[in-house]
């Protein structure tokens, strides 16, 4: 059964294969549900003190948030290209794409460092008020997801040349899907915490 043929997941409706694998999606959906709860909890407590939340939110550096969003979205495009390259056997290209995505991830972490340090120096910490508690905890948990994703991207970037069977390509896909989830979560966190 082990062949070295590289196939794309079927694109026709007659023969759809699941992207990644089912077990991964259980994790992904679970993580998304947890963050959904985070969003709603934030909004529930925000409604009890809109003024504090709004004035605190105004303190945030939206530019940092926008740059991070652009980094996340671009890194996702790079991961998509990497997965496509891996599927057609261009492992060298895939490696370059995954490494580039990894750099975007590192950029995200760096901006977060700038952002957190700027706020802390200004005197806004986790215990300043409820808004900042949610801000640090939610972006912090997301940041941990990013760090894990960076490790996964590194694994993908360095191993893709030897991962050519369908099963191994599936692992690459799984890594990609995880990264897209991290991107997806930020896409909601950013407007929720910074904009509205």
């Amino acid at each position: 059964m082990q062949t070295n043929t590289i196939t794309k997941p079927a694109q026709t409706s007659l023969d759809k294969t699941i992207p990644g694998e089912a077990g991964l999606w259980i994790f992904i959906i679970g993580d998304m549900l947890i963050f959904s709860l985070f969003f709603l909890i934030f909004l529930y407590y925000r409604a009890e003190d809109v003024e504090t939340f709004s004035t605190s939110q105004a303190v945030l550096n939206q530019t940092h948030g926008v740059i991070n969003t652009l980094l996340m979205l671009t890194s996702s495009w790079l991961v998509v290209s990497g997965v496509h390259a891996a599927r057609i056997g261009k492992a060298n290209h895939a490696s370059i794409f995954f490494k580039s995505a990894l750099l975007c991830g590192i950029g995200f972490v760096f901006i977060k460092y700038l952002e957190y340090s700027e706020k802390i120096v200004q005197g806004y910490t986790l215990t300043t008020n409820d808004y900042f508690m949610y801000y640090y905890i939610y972006t912090g948990i997301h940041l941990i997801h990013v760090l894990i994703g960076i490790a996964i991207l590194y694994f993908m970037a360095t191993r893709t040349k030897t991962m050519t069977t369908n099963e191994q390509l599936q692992m690459i896909e799984c890594g990609g899907i995880y990264w897209h989830m991290v991107d997806l979560l930020w896409v909601v966190l950013f407007p929720l915490l910074y904009l509205v």
């Binding site: 997941p9 694109q11 759809k16 699941i18 992207p19 999606w25 959906i29 998304m32 549900l33 959904s36 969003f39 709603l40 909004l43 529930y44 925000r46 409604a47 009890e48 809109v50 003024e51 709004s54 004035t55 105004a58 939206q62 926008v66 969003t69 652009l70 979205l73 671009t74 996702s76 495009w77 991961v79 998509v80 290209s81 496509h84 390259a85 261009k90 060298n92 290209h93 370059i96 794409f97 899907i177 897209h180 989830m181 991107d183 997806l184 896409v187 909601v188 950013f190 407007p191 929720l192 910074y194 904009l195 509205v196």
Partner: protein, 115 residues
């Protein structure tokens, strides 16, 4: 004659990776991010509470972006209907709840469970 973007990676050019629908999706995502930023920026909204309408627009943009990532990057768009269904359901339920909780604080839904 130099061609634009003739960066070559072992025979394939960068253009070949760029000429995909996912690149168009990426462009949309970037555009919507900038739009949301402009709408939601502190210059437009008052500090004591952004207009609910603007917030609704920004949040709608956000969830539309989420859907693009789900369907085109995570390839849920071409996945079996069961998976796609679950994700679409999560999307619409979460989006509705977020808008509802943003505007009302969710008191109505949470009250029966509190104390």
């Amino acid at each position: 004659m130099g061609r634009p973007l003739s960066i070559t990676l072992s025979g394939m050019t960068l253009m070949q990776y760029l000429r995909k629908k996912e690149t168009f999706v990426w462009g949309l995502l970037i555009l919507m991010t900038i739009l949301a930023w402009v709408f939601g920026s502190n210059n437009i909204n008052s500090v004591t509470g952004s207009a609910d309408n603007i917030a609704a627009i920004v949040l709608t943009l956000a969830f539309f972006k989420v859907r693009l990532v789900l369907m085109y990057f995570m390839e849920a768009g071409s996945a079996p209907w069961a998976l796609r269904g679950i994700l679409e359901a999560w999307l619409i339920i979460t989006f509705s709840l977020v808008i509802f909780f943003y505007i009302t604080g969710g008191e109505m839904l949470v009250a029966p469970f509190v104390r």
